[in-house]
C-alpha cells in the first residue's frame, strides 16, 4: 500500500547532487511531493528532505540507492508519525476584501496565521503547519479570492533529542579506518 514517507539525506554540498538523487526517483516513476534543501547543524553538510508517496518496499530500495551515491553520507526514511514536520504557506489577498468585513480577520485568528505585509492594494498572510492546515486556510481565504498562493516543501526533524550526525561521522571515520587497514593488510599478503 502506498503512503507518505519522508526521505532525509545528509550529503556533501556538491553541484549536481540534488539531480543525482532525484533521477533515482524519476527512473522508478516516483513523483516528488516536495523537496527541501538546506545546511544541517554541521557546517558543510547539506540536508535534503524529500516527501514521496510509495510502498515501503520500494522506499527501502530507493533509500539504498540514494545511500550508494558517493557524495551522500547517509540516507534515511521515516513515516510521518516518526517525525516532527512543518510546511509554510503564503497567501496574497486584496486589502479591500480584508477591509470589507471581519471574516478574513477571523480566519487568520482561528488558523493562528499572521499578516506579513499590508499595502493599500494587497495583504500577504503567512501560515505554518501541516499541509491539511495550510490547505484549510486556503479554502477559507479563497472564498474571498486568493491572488497568489505558495506552499514550501516539507522540513522535518526526528524525535531523537539531538542530531546524531556528529556521532555518525565519528563512527563512519572508524569504519573507514577499519576498511582501509584491512585493505592494506590484504595488499601486503
Amino acid at each position: 500500500m502506498k503512503k507518505e514517507f519522508i526521505i532525509t539525506t545528509y550529503s556533501e554540498n556538491h553541484i549536481g547532487l540534488t539531480n543525482r538523487i532525484t533521477i533515482i526517483l524519476t527512473r522508478r516513476q516516483v513523483n516528488i511531493e516536495s523537496l527541501t534543501g538546506s545546511e544541517s547543524a554541521l557546517p558543510g553538510i547539506h540536508k535534503i528532505t524529500i516527501v514521496i508517496n510509495e510502498e515501503e518496499e520500494k522506499v527501502k530500495n530507493i533509500v539504498k540507492q540514494i545511500d550508494k551515491i558517493v557524495d551522500v553520507l547517509k540516507a534515511f526514511y521515516h513515516t510521518n508519525e516518526e517525525m516532527i514536520y512543518q510546511e509554510i504557506a503564503l497567501y496574497k489577498v486584496l486589502t479591500k476584501s480584508l477591509m470589507e468585513s471581519d471574516d478574513i480577520e477571523k480566519l487568520i485568528r482561528s488558523h493562528n496565521a499572521r499578516i506579513l505585509e499590508i499595502t493599500p492594494e494587497y495583504t500577504v498572510i503567512e501560515k505554518t503547519g501541516h499541509k491539511e492546515e495550510t490547505q484549510d486556510l486556503f479554502q477559507g481565504l479563497n472564498k474571498f479570492g486568493v491572488l497568489q498562493f505558495i506552499r514550501s516543501g516539507r522540513i522535518a526533524l526526528t524525535r531523537s533529542p539531538i542530531e546524531k550526525l556528529s556521532e555518525f561521522l565519528k563512527e563512519r571515520d572508524e569504519l573507514l579506518e577499519r576498511v582501509e587497514t584491512r585493505r592494506k593488510l590484504r595488499k601486503a599478503n
Partner: protein
C-alpha cells in the same frame, strides 16, 4: 635510461609548476595507467599536447570512434583488473562515450573517462561542441565531476581512480574545461584512500556468518550461484576451496564465466535464459541457494514469482543496494566475497552431496542428448556456432581470452568455450551492447599481449564497430576475429520465429565480404563454409602472426537452446523449439 623511464621519472617530480593538462597525464601515470584509449578534438587538445611529451610512458591507442575507445578500455579493465582509461573531446566526443559508460556501469567495470569541455566562461552558452556531459552521464556513472580550475586536477583524478576501483567497481567521468587544462598549478600527487561520504565495503558480520554456516551445514540440496563478483573480488581460489570442502554444485551467470575452471567437477554450468538445463531446473528444487557476487538479473531469474521459492537464500554481496532488490534473502552477508568465502570455508562442515550432484549430471546428460551434441558435433550439412566456438577453444587448449559481441553467437560462445583461468571471458552482459566485441578485444589484447585473444561476433554486431579494424591494423594487434555469419540479426530472428509468428521484420541484413574489408586494412583473412575445412582454417588463423579475420558461414536456423522464455519460470526451460509449441 630509456625514454620511457625518463618520462616516467619526469612525471614523478612533485611541487613543480606545470599546466593542468600535464597534471592530467602525470596523475594518470601516478595511478599506474600504462595504456589509454582515446580520440582527440578541440576541447581536449591541451591534454593531447601534454601527452606528446609522455607518449612512451603512457601508451595511447587511437581508436576510430569514441565508442571504440570506451569499449577497449572496458576490455582492458576486464582482463587486467586494473582501471581502464579513455579520453574524448567535448560534445560529440563525450556523447559517443555514453554507451560504453552505461555498459560499464551495469557490468561494474572500473573506468576513468576524461572528457574535454569548453572554457568555463562559455559553459551554458551553447558554445561550439558544448554538451552537458556531467548531466548526461549522471545516471550511468558511479561518480562524475566537472573540473574548472587546474588546482583541482590531481585530487579529482586520485578520487576518480579510488572510486572506480574500490567497493563495487564502476565508471567515473571527469569533465575538464579547457581553461583548467591550460591553467598552471603547483603539482603534487597523493593517492586517495578515503572519502568520508563513501563506504566501499562493510566489515563482515560474524553473527550472520554463523547463521549462514548453520544453513549450509543443514542443507540437503544446497546450490551455489556466482557472478562476476568472484573475479572483481579476486575470490576465485576461495570459491574453489569452499565448494571443494562442502561438495556444493556451482553454476555461473554470464559474467561469472571463467571464475571457475570449466572442467571442475562441481561446475554445473550456466544459469539463466540460455543457460544449462540442470542449473535452471535445480534452482527450483534446491533447499538452499547461495548467491555470491551476483545481482539476480531478470535474464538469470526468469519470473521472480516462482524463483527458488522453496529454498532458503544466502546472498553474499558487496553492494548493500543489491540486497533484497530482486530476491528476498534469508541471510545477507555484506562485504568482500574473498574474505567471506574464506571465513565460511573455515566454519562449515565438509560434505559430499553425491546424490544431489548426480542429479545435475543427469540433467546435463539430457541436455547433451537433446541440444549440446547436435550443436557441437552436428552431422547435418552447414556449420553451427557451437562447433566453431568449441573447435577454436580447443585449439587454444582452452587458454585463450574469449571476447564476444551480443546475440546468438554470444550465447553459443558462453555455452561452448571452455576456460582454464579467470578473467578470460569478456562480454557485454547487463546492457547487451552490440558492437562491444571488436573494440573490447582490442583492449583485452593490450591487457594480455602474450595470450591469444579471440573475438566471436555476429555479422550484425561486427558492423556496428567495424571501423576499429583500423585501430587493429595501425597498432598491429594480434586479435583473432571470428565472424559467425548467418546473414541475419539472429537473436531477434529467433524471437520472431518463436514469439512473433515468423514475421521476420527487418532482420535480414546485407553484409560486405568481411574478408575483403579486412584485406583493405591489410589484415589477412579467410572464409569457411564447409565442415571439413574448419579445422585447417582455425589452424591457419592462429599460425598467422598478428591479426586475422575468419568469416564462417553459419546455418540461419541454428537457434539457441535451451531457452527460458522471457517472463517464464526458470524451471519451464525449453530444450527445443518443439517444447515451445507444446
Amino acid at each position: 635510461m630509456t625514454t620511457k623511464e625518463k618520462e616516467t621519472r619526469r612525471s614523478q617530480q612533485q611541487d613543480v609548476e606545470i599546466t593542468g593538462s600535464e597534471a592530467v597525464i602525470r596523475s594518470l601515470i601516478a595511478e599506474g595507467a600504462e595504456v589509454i584509449f582515446g580520440y582527440p578534438g578541440g576541447a581536449i587538445m591541451p591534454v593531447y599536447d601534454a601527452l606528446y611529451d609522455y607518449r612512451n610512458a603512457l601508451r595511447h591507442i587511437l581508436t576510430r570512434h569514441e565508442q571504440g575507445a570506451v569499449h577497449a578500455a572496458q576490455g582492458y579493465a576486464r582482463v587486467t583488473g586494473k582501471v581502464g582509461v579513455c579520453i574524448a573531446t567535448s560534445g560529440p566526443g563525450a556523447t559517443n562515450l555514453m554507451t560504453g559508460i552505461a555498459d560499464a556501469q551495469i557490468d561494474s567495470t572500473p573506468l576513468v573517462c576524461i572528457t574535454g569541455q569548453v572554457t568555463s566562461g562559455l559553459l551554458g552558452t551553447d558554445a561550439f561542441q558544448e554538451s552537458d556531459v556531467v548531466g548526461l552521464s549522471m545516471p550511468v556513472t558511479k561518480w562524475n565531476f566537472q573540473i574548472t580550475t587546474p588546482e583541482d586536477i590531481p585530487e579529482a583524478i586520485a578520487k576518480a581512480f579510488y572510486i572506480a576501483a574500490s567497493g563495487r567497481p564502476g565508471p567515473v567521468l571527469l569533465d575538464i574545461t579547457k581553461d583548467a587544462q591550460f591553467g598552471k598549478l603547483k603539482y603534487k600527487y597523493a593517492k586517495c584512500h578515503k572519502i568520508r561520504s563513501y563506504v566501499p565495503e562493510y566489515p563482515v558480520n560474524k553473527e550472520k556468518l554463523a547463521e549462514a554456516a548453520t544453513l549450509i551445514n543443514g542443507a540437503k540440496k544446497p546450490f551455489l550461484v556466482f557472478g562476476q563478483g568472484i573475479m572483481l573480488g579476486e575470490a576465485e581460489r576461495e570459491l574453489k576451496s569452499f565448494i571443494d570442502k562442502t561438495g556444493i554444485p556451482a553454476a555461473w551467470t554470464l559474467l561469472g564465466l571463467s571464475a571457475l575452471n570449466s572442467d571442475h567437477p562441481l561446475n554445473v554450468g550456466m544459469l539463466g535464459m540460455h543457460g544449462n538445463y540442470g542449473p535452471n531446473i535445480k534452482t527450483n528444487e534446491c533447499d538452499l541457494l547461495i548467491a555470491v557476487g551476483m545481482r539476480f538479473d531478470d535474464r538469470v531469474t526468469g519470473t521472480l514469482k516462482t524463483y527458488a521459492k522453496q529454498a532458503k537464500i544466502i546472498h553474499i554481496e558487496i553492494d548493500p543496494a543489491e540486497i533484497n532488490k530482486n530476491v528476498k534473502t534469508d541471510v545477507a552477508l555484506l562485504g568482500d566475497a574473498k574474505k567471506i568465502l574464506r571465513l565460511l570455508t573455515h566454519i562449515v562442515s565438509p560434505n559430499k552431496h553425491k546424490e544431489w550432484v548426480k542429479e545435475f549430471k543427469q540433467a546435463m546428460a539430457i541436455e547433451v542428448k537433446k541440444v549440446i551434441h547436435s550443436d557441437v558435433y552436428p552431422t547435418k550439412p552447414g556449420l553451427t556456432m557451437g562447433e566453431v566456438v568449441r573447435r577454436v577453444s580447443e585449439y587454444t587448449k582452452n587458454k585463450a581470452v574469449i571476447v564476444s559481441d551480443v546475440g546468438q553467437h554470444q550465447m553459443a560462445t558462453a555455452r561452448y568455450s571452455r576456460f582454464t583461468q579467470p578473467r578470460s571471458h569478456i562480454t557485454s552482459g547487463g546492457l547487451g551492447t552490440m558492437g562491444f566485441g571488436l573494440p573490447a578485444a582490442i583492449g583485452a589484447k593490450l591487457g594480455e599481449p602474450n595470450r591469444e585473444v579471440v573475438v566471436f561476433a555476429g555479422d550484425g554486431g561486427f558492423q556496428m564497430t567495424i571501423q576499429e579494424l583500423g585501430t587493429i591494423a595501425q597498432e598491429k594487434l594480434g586479435v583473432k576475429m571470428v565472424i559467425l555469419n548467418n546473414h541475419f540479426l539472429g537473436m531477434v530472428r529467433q524471437w520472431q520465429e518463436l514469439f512473433f509468428e515468423k514475421r521476420y521484420s527487418f532482420t535480414e541484413i546485407l553484409s560486405p565480404d568481411f574478408v575483403k574489408v579486412a584485406d583493405a586494412y591489410g589484415i589477412p583473412g579467410n572464409h569457411v563454409t564447409d565442415r571439413d575445412k574448419l579445422d585447417d582454417a582455425i589452424k591457419v588463423m592462429f599460425e598467422t602472426e598478428g591479426p586475422y579475420l575468419l568469416e564462417v558461414n553459419i546455418e540461419k536456423d541454428d537457434n539457441v537452446f535451451p531457452m527460458v522464455p522471457a517472463g517464464a519460470s526458470v524451471s519451464d526451460i525449453l530444450l527445443s523449439p518443439e517444447d515451445a509449441v507444446k
